[in-house]
Symmetry: C2
Subunit: 201 residues, 2 copies
C-alpha cells in the first residue's frame, strides 16, 4: 500500500471532496467517511441532489439568476415591480437581498465583476444583457448593488456610465456603519463613506 490507506472508492471520494473550495484534505476525509457511514438511501439522495442541481438548473434568460426553468420565479412573478432592476454580481447576492423583504423589483445577475487583474473584462460579465433590458424600455431605476470593494466600485461606475444615455435613474446602495456597529471599531474607509452619505433626520 503506497500512499492510499483506504479502498480506492473512498480515496476517490476524498479527492472529490478535497477539490471543493475551502475543503482541505482532513475535512474531505471526514466528509467521505460520513458518506460511507450513511444509509444507502441517504447516499443515493445526496448523489441524486448533485446530478439534479447540475442538470435541472439553468440561468433565467432575462435576469441570469439561477432558475429551474427558462424564466426564474422573480422575473415571472406578476407582483414584482418591473420598473426597477437591481444589479448584483452573484446569485447569492439575490438571495441576500430577497431575505430583507425590502425589495420588490427585478434583478440582473452579472456573474462576476470587472477585474483587469484577473483578466475579467466587461465582455466577460453580463453587462450587454443589462443594457438591452434597459434599452427595451419600461425601466425607471437601476440599483447597482455590487460589493463596495475596488472591483465592485469600478463595475458600478462602468455600468452607470454605460446607462447614462438611456436617462434612467441609476443608484447605488448606501454604504456606512453596519447596524449594531460601533463608531470606535469602524474602519476609516467605512466611516468616510458614512460621513459622505449622511442624511437629514
Amino acid at each position: 500500500m503506497p500512499n492510499s490507506f483506504f479502498p480506492a472508492p473512498v480515496e476517490n471520494l476524498i479527492d472529490q471532496f478535497a477539490r471543493l473550495p475551502g475543503v482541505g484534505r482532513k475535512t474531505a476525509q471526514r466528509l467521505a467517511f460520513h458518506i460511507v457511514g450513511m444509509s444507502d438511501e441517504e447516499a443515493e439522495a445526496f448523489a441524486a441532489a448533485i446530478t439534479a442541481a447540475k442538470s435541472r438548473v439553468t440561468f433565467c434568460k432575462t435576469c441570469l439568476n439561477l432558475s429551474a426553468g427558462d424564466t426564474c420565479p422573480i422575473c415571472s412573478s406578476p407582483t414584482r415591480d418591473r420598473s426597477q432592476i437591481c444589479v448584483v454580481s452573484d446569485p447569492k447576492d439575490v438571495a441576500a437581498i430577497e431575505r430583507t423583504s425590502e425589495y420588490r423589483g427585478l434583478y440582473h445577475v452579472l456573474h462576476g465583476v470587472i477585474s483587469p487583474l484577473n483578466h475579467v473584462s466587461p465582455d466577460d460579465i453580463h453587462v450587454k444583457e443589462l443594457v438591452s433590458r434597459v434599452s427595451a424600455g419600461g425601466v425607471q431605476e437601476v440599483i447597482l448593488a455590487t460589493d463596495p470593494d475596488t472591483e465592485g466600485e469600478a463595475t458600478a461606475l462602468y455600468i452607470a456610465r454605460l446607462l447614462r444615455p438611456f436617462g434612467v435613474r441609476v443608484t447605488r446602495l448606501a454604504y456606512g456603519i453596519p447596524m449594531g456597529g460601533h463608531l470606535e471599531f469602524t474602519d476609516e474607509l467605512t466611516l468616510g463613506r458614512a460621513l459622505e452619505g449622511r442624511r437629514d433626520i
Copy 2:
C-alpha cells in the same frame, strides 16, 4: 417566494451539504454553488464517487477496516506480521498508523469506544470479533491504540482484562510529550504520563 431564494434543486443540494458534519448553512451554500458551476462531467464524477464509495465499500471480514472486497489489502498481504494485532477505534486511525511505516502487523477496528454516557456498551463495538481472532491462535501481541482519553483508556483496560486468559502480550502505545514539543507548554496529564513512562537511555 417564502424562504427559498434558489431553485428547488439548488435548495435541495444545499440541504444535503448542510447535513454533513461540520458544514454550516453558509458553507453548504458555497459548496452547492460550486457544484452548479462545475462542468457536467465533473458533477457526474462527484455523484458517481458518492454512489461508488457507498455501494462498493464494505468492511473487511477479518479486521473490520474499510475494504473494497471481503478482505482488506492489509489482511490479505503476505508480507504483514500475523502475530501482531493493533486495535484502533476508527479506520482513520489505521491510516494514521500506516503513514508512519513503522508497523507491519495486522489491525482490528472497533468502530467506536466504550462510552456509558453515549450508551455505547462493549457489545456495540467489535470486541467479540477481536476475542475470537485471538482465541483462534497465532497472535502473540495485541497493541491497544485507542485514544488516550477517558473512553479510549477505559476501552483499552476492558479489552486488556478480556484478553488476559489467552496469555498473549497486551501492550498500549506510549503516551508522552509529542516530538518537537516543549516541557513548559505540556499539560500536566501528558507530563505525568511522560514521567511514568520514562525509559533508560
